[in-house]
Symmetry: C2
Subunit: 143 residues, 2 copies
DNA sequence: AAGTAGTTTAGAATAATTCTAAGTCGAGAA
DNA sequence: TTCTCGACTTAGAATTATTCTAAACTACTT
């Protein structure tokens, strides 16, 4: 199974516009990564997992480009980085307000919608500092 | 300046007991690391920072041993690992229920006491899984 | 068609952490 | 005390994720 018509005919042009709006040239690599990332429901990837996935799909992209692209997309606000594991970095296509379950056994993330969890009582930041964001990670494991 | 009498006469024996209770042999290295970690108020360290600190204090310990020891102390419940930075691992001598400010600019942690923040609405874990713990990280930066 | 700045890439470089294999030490037995 | 053995420590190599470098390539403007 290769790429479906859906991905090429619909997702890619969609992606091209996203990239242009973000001020990024719509190169082949970026377009292909973007359609893998944004062509379906929200997802969580690592640089390796995305690289493996696109290589598997027959796309020629270097791992360095995957890293570059993930960071550029993150800077452009198309992705968000999630810090849950000291060993590797995760990127989330859902950039809205939400939190995560982290399955420690499998190294897998599951979104928790933004309205679900309420965090109350966050103290004001020390003088001269501002809150960038509040992350909640619910660490779960096989019971 | 070497070790003070306080550290040797009070903190170290205290540490020796801690180690014995944890089932860890009170070796010179573990005792010295323990008194640096537990001989004062709660603190946050990385393997490098602790290693630098003890070497500076004239103690002979290898970085590998610092890593080993931090992990053993963590397993024994004497320390807790805090994941806030993809680049390095932090260890916290405060193992009780509490949360953190993370100063992204300096890579520094500040404790937020356990009663301060309330997290409501945490969904039940997926079937077959149990919540290990809920971490809240308030990321702050210079404004 | 050509120029140029932005991109991609292979491979080297870095940084944190772990592993390995050999030497050392602590605590109980003799 | 001395012996013994498993636990512990260590230097240095190895591993892993990520970043850097410098050269080749490509999208867009003129």
């Amino acid at each position: 199974m290769g790429k479906t018509m859906h991905e090429n005919a619909v997702a890619a042009p969609f992606a091209a516009e996203k990239l242009r709006l973000a001020g990024l040239r719509p190169t082949r690599q970026r377009l292909e990564l973007a359609s893998h990332l944004f062509g379906g429901p929200d997802r969580h990837v690592t640089a390796e997992s995305l690289h493996d996935e696109v290589v598997e799909a027959g796309i020629k992209v270097s791992l360095a480009t995957v890293y570059n692209t993930l960071h550029q997309f993150t800077q452009a606000g198309l992705l968000r980085q999630v810090i849950v594991d000291a060993a590797r970095g995760y990127f989330d296509t859902n950039t809205g307000d939400h939190q995560h379950f982290f399955l420690e056994d499998e190294g897998m993330l599951i979104d928790i919608p933004g309205e679900t969890i309420t965090v109350a009582g966050v103290p004001t930041a020390p003088p001269g500092m501002t809150v960038d964001r509040v992350d909640v990670v619910v660490r779960i494991r096989r019971s």
